[in-house]
């Protein structure tokens, strides 16, 4: 049911954890299934230097979170705002239809963190 890439990112998620001194954090919870992501950002000159996450959710949610962090590291925050859930799902070689909503978590959590960053919320 899951692609190799999903299974890989689920078993060995990249960039899991918290950050001692983040420039911003963002938390986002799916109203649909209760899955929740917390994103920690380190931003320098408008570029995402470091990113960490913690996710509560199914394999699709965890893999999407991991993939998202891989995709946006090194992006400007403007570029990162263009990232969509579909792009994350695609990068994972797709998700089962009934799991598509789980990928929403990743981009939405990221955007929340960026918006907090812009608003100066840590």
């Amino acid at each position: 049911m899951y692609s190799e890439k999903v299974l890989d990112h689920f078993s060995n998620p990249r960039n899991v954890g918290e950050m001692a001194d983040p420039d911003a954090t963002g938390e986002f919870g799916s109203s649909h299934c209760g899955d929740t992501i917390k994103v920690f950002l380190k931003v320098e000159d408008g570029v995402i230097q470091d990113i960490k996450f913690k996710t509560f959710g199914c394999a699709a949610a965890i893999a999407s979170s991991s993939m998202m962090t891989e995709m946006v590291r090194g992006m400007t925050i403007e570029e990162a705002l263009q990232l969509t859930n579909e792009m994350v799902a695609e990068a994972l070689d797709g998700l089962p239809p009934e799991k598509m909503h789980c990928s929403c978590l990743a981009a939405d959590g990221l955007h929340k963190a960026i918006s907090n960053y812009r608003d100066g919320i840590r």
């Binding site: 689920f10 899991v16 299934c33 913690k54 509560f56 199914c58």
Partner: protein
């Protein structure tokens, strides 16, 4: 990789002796049991033999057994068939909030057709209040439908007491015994049950066959109209091989009813105690002393059940999150919700259901794999802090 199957409440492998007994009925003795010629006569005695074996398992009479295609069909037939047959007498059904979807969904359908349904709540341990059940009975009540054992938690309901209540108030009593029959003693006379459903694939028979027990004197409208099979209670050419397999599986289950449950209980308890001692902040769901021997349902604070399932699956361990039927859908199971489990905690539930083939080594392996798997997921969970208030709150509920 060694594969460990701990999802016997979802389905079981066909027992070798069952498959062996079935095989002739695909190719050599392939006749339609309704046919009068030699090919029919090869099949019809086998059906009646199976009927006797199934009847013996639940202490019923042969003519009270109607073969169906699955547990869900039996549940639908019991409910819809009773509503149809007794519509002049009343239109109220009493059931519980924790029934299988085959009962709940049918009740919801019947509600749309004007039937009144009372869904009895359960307490935090998953138990019913019998007084409340009795008080729910009205002069319009035609059926009480309470499962013998819950598929998610394994909680056993007081069927004998409910049977006595139903008899006292002259209300029909149906029990979905899909998880109970063949696993714990089931006696329709002792429990005063009028209708009982059973599904072959939960006890080593193949998928695609089940029965509805219909006590004499409790006529039902058929769900499937047509030919004269099953004394016009269920039309359709008999699934001969499946029925033969069900007969053998019931005979075997009856033979092993003294030994297997005892052995399985020991293994289940070892798994439970191991988990409790190795993993902090977990919750065992369902009244400890009142469960099926094989079922263990737990919540692991801070993580999501399906993620844990997948991790176990990667190690070759098959378990489930809620029932197999609902584990494809998301959120908390209706059973844990009815037990008032905290919604976040409820999402972390996993069910291990052992089988007659489960070994001590299987349990060792789960106890080896489970703690680091849980830890790994907790490490990435925003909700996990060992000893944190969140989890403490969850567990205290």
């Amino acid at each position: 990789m060694r594969r460990i199957y701990l999802d016997n409440n979802a389905t079981t492998a066909v027992r070798p002796e069952v498959l062996e007994g079935m095989l002739p009925f695909f190719t050599e003795a392939f006749g339609n049991p309704s046919s009068l010629h030699w090919a029919g006569r090869q099949a019809s005695p086998a059906i009646e033999q199976a009927r006797r074996e199934v009847a013996a398992l639940i202490n019923a009479k042969e003519e009270e057994i109607v073969f169906t295609s699955c547990g869900s069909e039996g549940d639908n037939l019991a409910l819809k068939g009773t509503v149809e047959a007794l519509q002049s007498r009343g239109n109220h059904i009493i059931t519980t909030a924790v029934e299988h979807p085959a009962v709940l969904d049918t009740c919801r359908f019947l509600e749309k057709k004007g039937v009144e349904v009372t869904y009895l709540p359960v307490d935090r341990e998953g138990l019913l209040d019998l007084d409340r059940l009795e008080r729910a009975i009205t002069s319009r009540t035609i059926l009480i439908s309470v499962m013998w054992a819950n598929n998610e938690t394994g909680v056993l309901f007081p069927i004998r007491e409910i049977g006595a209540l139903a008899r006292k108030h002259q209300v029909r009593f149906f029990t979905d015994a899909v998880q109970a029959a063949g696993r714990v003693p089931v006696d329709v006379e002792e429990a005063q049950v009028d209708l009982l459903s059973l599904s072959g694939h939960k006890i080593g028979a193949p998928k695609g066959v089940g029965i509805l027990y219909i006590r004499k004197g409790n006529p039902l409208a058929p769900l499937i109209h047509g030919g004269h099979q099953e004394r016009r209670r269920r039309a359709g050419t008999h699934n001969v091989a499946g029925i033969v397999g069900l007969g053998i599986a019931c005979r075997k289950a009856a033979e092993e009813l003294e030994t297997v449950p005892t052995r399985v209980t020991v293994l289940r308890d070892r798994l439970q105690n191991g988990i409790v001692s190795l993993i902090p902040e977990i919750k065992v769901n369902g009244a400890l002393g009142l469960r099926l021997p094989n079922t263990l349902n737990l919540c692991f604070a801070g993580i999501e059940g399906e993620a844990l399932l997948l991790r176990l699956d990667m190690e070759g361990i098959a378990a489930s999150s809620g029932s197999a039927c609902t584990s494809g859908s998301l959120g908390m199971s209706h059973v844990l919700e009815a037990m008032q489990v905290n919604p976040l905690l409820g999402q972390s539930s996993v069910r291990f259901s052992l089988g007659r083939n489960t070994t001590s080594e299987d349990i060792d392996r789960v106890l080896e794999v489970l703690p680091p798997s849980v830890q790994k997921l907790r490490d990435m969970s925003p909700f996990w802090k060992a000893g944190s208030r969140c989890c403490a709150v969850c567990l205290s509920q």
